[in-house]
């Protein structure tokens, strides 16, 4: 638009030199851009190295019943059982990146992000994905973030979220399970063991339990705020005592060999048989 306006007022000779100048300007611009790009690449090289440290991945040899102890600050934790005698840790660290050093001890693998980041209050989330032998004992804690444990069949599974985060425990075969949070739902999908103890507690989160239809257990379920405790198919399979206007249900199913204690102070509890 500008060019069409100027062209009629310029002499023909001058008009002939315009393409040549434009070509030179474009070449200069390209050179400048190339230089800027090079500078940028040179300048950002150390940063790229830092970014590379924000992803952690390492594999440790492990016996079948090893203990995994993880104390995270914030972020997701996924623990999955697999059929190998090793633990594989993969972690994505959001900026400002936390730094941690897993420690393999005689009694298990310890990851203490809280301790390793002491004095650095503003670090970003660390999202873990950890694969462990099926028979592992798993003890997980985080201040904030979801916890998922899948296909773990060791002696104990413990998942604690100090503030908010969902807890999903699926495919569990452990004789001791504990899960607690303040905000966030809890899903417990497990085969109950004889003599097993299962404790699920949330302040403001729904608690869903999927249990084998043939399981025998003693139950104490408390939902004082909503009085919403749905026993599903188990309602007709056990003997129940509905206490304090249905705010608590105490009862027994089958041989009562396992013990389930579940409490949500402000939400509901639902049982599903499978």
């Amino acid at each position: 638009m500008k060019k069409t306006l100027l062209t009629p007022h310029k002499p023909a000779a001058v008009c002939d030199t315009v393409p040549a100048r434009s070509a030179r300007s474009a070449a200069s611009l390209l050179a400048a851009l190339a230089a800027a790009f090079l500078l940028c690449v040179l300048f950002c090289a150390p940063t790229t190295t830092v970014f590379a440290q924000q992803k952690f991945s390492k594999t440790y040899p492990a016996r079948r019943n090893i203990r995994l102890q993880l104390n995270n600050r914030s972020g997701e934790i996924d623990v999955i059982g697999w059929d190998r005698d090793e633990i594989k840790i993969t972690a994505d660290m959001e900026a400002p990146a936390a730094r941690f050093t897993p420690v393999l001890k005689e009694d298990g693998l310890w990851i203490d992000v809280m301790n390793d980041t002491r004095g650095r209050e503003d670090v970003g989330d660390v999202n873990f994905r950890i694969q462990v032998p099926y028979g592992s004992t798993v003890d997980l804690e985080t201040k904030r973030g979801n916890i998922t444990v899948h296909n773990v069949q060791g002696a104990m599974v413990r998942a604690v979220v100090t503030t908010e985060g969902d807890i999903n425990l699926t495919g569990i075969r452990a004789s001791r399970v504990m899960a607690s949070n303040i905000m966030g739902n809890i899903l417990f999908d497990a085969d109950l063991m004889r003599g097993g103890m299962y404790e699920l507690k949330s302040t403001q989160g729904d608690i869903n339990l999927r249990i084998n239809a043939g399981s025998g257990f003693m139950l104490t379920a408390t939902a004082p705020r909503t009085r919403n405790i749905n026993l599903g198919d188990f309602a007709g399979r056990g003997s129940w005592d509905f206490q304090s206007n249905n705010r608590r249900i105490v009862g027994k199913v089958g041989d009562g060999s396992a013990t389930i204690t579940t409490t949500t102070l402000r939400s509901s509890i639902v049982f599903v048989s499978r």
């Binding site: 970003g124 201040k143 303040i182 905000m183 408390t222 705020r225 705010r247």
Partner: protein, 233 residues
């Protein structure tokens, strides 16, 4: 024999139970000593008199009955004297009764201002007693209710101090946290406080509700735990 030995043996001598050398010696001494001879004569006179009056001092056939009669007679006389004292207005025995009777028999002649003052004093007195009584009753009821709630209404003093201390530490550190962590903390503390508040309301309505008390205690424990962990963050 001297006078002292003589006085010791004089009784036996007069009874005629003394014989032998002592009797001879004592007889000799009485012949020689005028004082001892006089004593002998006085004792002999007493013994003779007593023997003559013996029939006058014989005990009655039923001595106990006699003493009972004597006592009854004395008591009857004493009662008669007391009755006499009452009717004659004895100042020693009946001072209090006299005061009451004087008070009751007195004629009260009050002026209108005196009467008004008396009525006002009675009204004020009754009002004060009633107010104090009602206040005490109210306080007692309050204490009873608090006691009935088993102290679960409020955290114990140590817990309160601990919560205040931890809260203060958290507030000091909070500004350094990652914003998402700060928001999560505030949100979750709010949920816990709401649970505490709900439980307290439930306990106000049903002070003995076990489940509400458990919920309150659980929420307070969660709060302590949350503050403790975040105070170290």
């Amino acid at each position: 024999m001297d006078c002292e030995k003589c006085s010791d043996l004089l009784g036996d001598f007069l009874d005629g139970t003394m014989a032998g050398d002592d009797h001879a010696l004592l007889s000799t001494h009485l012949d020689e000593c005028l004082g001892c001879a006089c004593v002998r004569e006085e004792i002999r006179a007493i013994v003779t008199t007593a023997a003559e009056s013996r029939e006058h001092f014989v005990a009655p056939p039923n001595e106990r009955a006699l003493w009972l009669r004597v006592r009854n007679t004395l008591e009857a006389e004493l009662s008669a004297q007391q009755r006499a004292a009452v009717t004659t207005g004895s100042p020693l025995g009946n001072a209090r009764e006299n005061f009451v009777s004087r008070l009751m028999n007195k004629r009260w002649a009050l002026s209108l201002p005196q009467l008004t003052a008396a009525v006002v004093a009675i009204v004020v007195g009754v009002a004060v007693v009633t107010t104090v009584g009602v206040q005490r009753l109210t306080i007692n009821e309050g204490v009873k209710q608090e006691t009935a709630r088993g102290g679960a209404r409020n955290p114990n003093p140590e817990q309160q101090v601990a919560i205040q201390y931890l809260m203060q530490r958290v507030e000091e550190r909070k500004s350094h946290w990652h914003p998402r962590m700060r928001e999560a903390f505030d949100r979750n503390l709010g949920v816990i406080d709401a649970t505490v508040s709900d439980s307290l309301k439930e306990l106000d309505e049903s002070p003995h509700d076990e489940i509400s008390e458990e919920a309150l205690n659980a929420a307070l424990r969660d709060k302590m735990e949350l503050l403790r962990e975040f105070s170290e963050l």
